[in-house]
Subunit: 391 residues, 4 copies
């Protein structure tokens, strides 16, 4: 019998949770990250002389071999307001008492959960970036291949003056490159402050532990603990929100250009309809839109949660967990869909030409040539993209 | 080995998905609702003479016995933009060809998914209502028991003039009752329009099928199909958003009144801290706040999705699925937490008294008695609550 | 004469603040409402025996004749966190000391501002309702006139099966009627609780003063003060949010149907372009969309603000003022634009016919007639609308 | 003289629109920016050889002397969907026909409005940055002065373990510095693409005109026109959203620490109450919170608007104008309030001491010293701040 996974969302995941991100933000991934943080804390503490080296090695080994169940931890979490309390207990149970006392030494639950969140976000963002880069490459391919393919430009959903499809794709490319820049600029950092941010439990070794832990986990070392200074979270949310817009824009255009009455592009693998055999639904583009549409509300929730109380928040911090995960999944799904959409996009230059011909001579007053600087704009966008991709 | 349920969220569910709602919005619940809709459609169609009665009975039996896996349907959904296409195929596979042809007759995927959504929302809202009502009863109990317990009123987070704790609780009660009123007013309706809303596939029997289906499922029959007229969804979202505010308000007060420096209430089962044995964290109240904080962004996403295209939306409709589910879970979790919080709330009249004494004679100019009309306001709120609960 | 400055934003107001709402939410309107509240409070207090009748008459007269400047009050407000403090001072200055002492007796600033907000919202909603009703009438006219005008239905932005333009318009109508229902259901209420909600300053006469004030102002009398029980505000926000969706939907369709490649409708007074004489921009429809797009974020802000502290909020209440005003303006502007759009909409049945002919025989399997129940759905929507309009 | 009307909302402006931003985003400021763009376009076009130098000089002079009324332009805008059309007409009217023909040559309305928006945003952000920097300086001053002032740390709104007030202030400082970093990183750019982004109207001189215009206006030259590539707008919105969180956090703490029961800080100029002489409302902090609370919803609106259609959006672009302005005002107002709040903040070390004493020996297990690394964290935050301020 299938396990009853009450919140699995599998039913809609084919559409709303496509691509590699869900695996990076799964309970298993979160748990693995939390365990890795506890191990790194122990090893770093030993390196800084705060706990015995033997104990650290044993703790790291226990973490490595830990077989914990997220669902059980989740249930136990409700009594404490965090799943870290039962996790630490589980690690300690796997160790002799004289070693167990060094587990989690100096840390608070939020240290572990925030650092794990940074690891999870880093991994998820790497997947997102890969798909955004691939989508950008696909846009660059379209811009290159159709640098001089004329089509009617449309403004306010009305036909306007000629442009090229290459210029249209170059605009998509510029947005995707900007989105990738924003994601690449993020610098996830270790969180380690202890109960109220003084890291008193580690004594003067505290800053050295932070530095060693950051090195081990491949994260930045922060200037000071950031339990209630959430700019890292809001910056991450913002970069994802910007990316959602950049992903939605080409998808919007594809749905509009793929309309039967327009017919200038079509998806390579359109969706069918059970009732209407003639339909070619732009499933990839509209799924991109559906996923991208999740972002603004989730970003807003994360921004609102940033106003946290005192040394550690009362409900505000906990309010971040769900939207952070959902935002990563939504933007990741949008990126995966758009990559599929643009990679397989079929362009119909003949239809574009015919539309232009019907549109007549709609040129701007004073235009010396109908397509103006479209070609040089495309070249500039491609050059900027090449620089990024070769960097 | 534990099944890999990538989006299970079990890890945070103890805090963010408490109570009975998750089971009502699980994949299994959605799938059961979708299957129930296909069965009701067949039976209703037979009742209206649109398909043979034998075929309907066979379809209903096949639906009853269907063993479909949400995860598989979800994966197959990605090619169609909806999990209904593979579901219909699965039902048809379980039937002889001459009966299979009547499955889903006249309907479009959105008919099934929207009607299933209404069933799911109805069930989830019933759970939420039950918890809101229980929380309101608890608030009423507090208002009754502390009708005349004086405490300092606080405005702008400063001590102001005397009130009673009963009046404070009566204010919570009024908000919860208003939230319940809003939820009770919702009227979920059948969706049945066929491919583009004319219900042409059922011929003149169409409206009769809608009526019979509504009767069978216990839903309203709409005036006309509402594929892109989403006021039912936005009204539901709004009622849940209003409820979130009403649930968050008492929780905010509890976190403030439970501060060590205030100490006028405490939770019956506060959370402990792994590092600090003396702490009594108001876990129920702060979890309520964390859950309620999800609502505004999710409501905004649903409101924005309401501007849908033509006869059926391109990405806008699909954008509803996740936030609708999440919103139900978030508000349901908040309701479950607040119920626990208020039911177990411990009030400290002596501390309230002492605070008042320290505060000195902070009375409004012209006050004929310090507590004014607090008692009669409490009585009025209690009377209004009793009327609702006895209705 | 003081320049009529309020809510100017004149530069964008032609597009984003169209119609009658801006005047109802202007500084002058707010100020007039606040003054009316102070007058009603005095007269009601006299009726309940809480202050001398002579004083009440004098206060009402002073309110009537008050010449206060919103800008000055606004500047003075910054020291108090509310413009009511300087307003009360201004009224008192206009009266002899022995009368001045009765001004604002028993009330707190929030009483005046909240009750004034209810008056302002009532007036603004009346304007919005009038425009929504007019837009609904226009949609009803289109549904009637084109009950049997066939057009291709479009799903997922692809041509699907035949519908009628009447059915399309009937869908718009149903949404607008539901929006109007929601607005009509709102019951704005008096706020009067004094410093912390006990109304101690008015003694046992308190409830009678509330009742008399409600009667005078045409508002509901609440069960108890609602300083931090904000369901009235969130319900209002929600109804406006639902309305925004219902207003945006027809506008979305008009922009899509008015595309040059589709050409099935056009606006009666399209906008020109400085550069492109051939363009006919659907300015009314796209302005409707721009205004409606403001709503989700503003509703979210108001929902989030509902979790207020203790007896009166610290920043949460103040956070309501701007989005409430902006939301009324945005939805009112959308309603005014859509009214103009639908009233002047030009339908092109010949183009619809030609598109259908090109689309070929795209009918649902089993359809006994291409247009199915479109006609009876239209009739049902029209009947429901007629019932509402004659009620 | 035209009344200075823009952005009046005078009644609430003392609280919700404090500081220097409103003047930078007023109608007059927008109009001045639009006129400056038209002048720069003309001069840059002449420099690139696209129009005669004499004409450019005359146009620039006409722009300089233009006396246009935002309200009138706004009203005329409604027919065109943009106030630029009547503005261009007004400039042309001030010039002889043979020169007038060169006004706005090659540009579209959106070019002017977007570039003006960038100028307005640059100026507004400079004001915001100045206030954020001042607030950060004030936080740095508090961190320096109270580097070793012990206080109880509070987590989940419960007393936890000792920290220092310096560490609390250093956390504020780190957030404000991060917010300032984000604002400083913004690179507003010229928009110039002509009707559909090819800049055909300026012929091969197009890119040179863009470059010259960017130089003249002190903006970046974009790789290509960004009419529907809105990452500049969403990045700006995001940076403001992040800043709002960083501004709200210290304000939240001040409202909590200033509670009568806590009394560890108080505002230098608290607000009074008309009814309660003893109250000292933390008006600056709560107004900061009210302003910061506007940001999430406005950011969400801007993010959602980024999915724009084809070459220029139909309602999506227009949807940006209001929230962009409001967001700048809200964040600017929050920054101005927080600057006032922190600059005048009165700290009560004796109360902090007494609270700690009452709290008993709440130290983390294993703490070698009660305050741990608080001092070195403060030093690190101060050093990082000094680096930024001296850069």
């Amino acid at each position: 019998m299938r396990p009853s996974s009450s919140r699995s969302d599998g039913l809609f995941d084919g559409i709303l949770a496509r691509g590699g991100v869900p695996a990076t933000v799964s309970d298993d991934a979160w748990l693995a990250a939390m365990v890795a943080v506890e191990a790194a804390l122990a090893l770093a503490s030993a390196e800084a002389g705060a706990i015995p080296a033997d104990a650290a090695t044993a703790i790291a080994a226990a973490c490595e071999g830990l077989d914990a169940d997220p669902g059980t931890l989740g249930r136990d979490a409700s009594a404490h307001g965090t799943p870290v309390v039962p996790l630490v207990a589980a690690i300690r149970r796997a160790l002799p008492d004289d070693v167990a006392t060094y587990v989690h030494r100096g840390a608070t639950s939020q240290d572990v959960l925030d650092t794990a969140a940074m690891l999870v976000c880093r991994d998820a963002c790497a997947v997102i970036l890969s798909d955004v880069d691939d989508a950008a490459d696909a846009a660059a391919g379209l811009a290159t291949g159709h640098r001089d393919t004329p089509m009617i430009g449309r403004t306010l959903l009305q036909q306007a003056v000629p442009v090229t499809f290459g210029l249209t794709a170059a605009g998509w490319l510029a947005g995707l490159d900007a989105a990738a820049d924003g994601l690449r600029r993020l610098r996830p950092a270790v969180q380690l402050g202890g109960a109220a941010g003084t890291l008193a439990g580690l004594g003067p070794a505290g800053p050295a532990v932070v530095a060693a832990m950051a090195y081990r986990l491949g994260l930045d070392a922060p200037t000071l603990p950031w339990h209630t200074e959430r700019s890292r979270v809001t910056a991450l949310a913002s970069a994802l929100g910007v990316a959602a817009g950049a992903l939605g824009k080409p998808a919007r255009d594809v749905t509009l250009l793929a309309q039967g009455e327009v017919g200038e592009v079509s998806e390579g693998s359109p969706g069918g309809s059970s009732a209407m055999a003639h339909k070619h639904n732009p499933v990839a583009a509209l799924s991109t839109l559906a996923c991208a549409a999740q972002a603004p509300g989730l970003v807003a929730t994360l921004l609102a949660a940033a106003v946290q109380e005192h040394q550690r928040g009362a409900g505000t911090w906990q309010a971040e967990w769900r939207p952070l995960r959902e935002l990563l999944v939504a933007v990741g799904s949008a990126a995966s869909w758009l990559r599929a959409c643009l990679t397989g996009l079929v362009v119909h230059p003949d239809v574009m030409r015919a539309t232009l011909d019907r549109a007549g001579d709609h040129r701007e007053a004073g235009a010396t040539e109908p397509l103006g600087n479209a070609g040089s704009f495309v070249d500039a966008a491609l050059a900027a993209h090449a620089l990024r991709r070769n960097a």
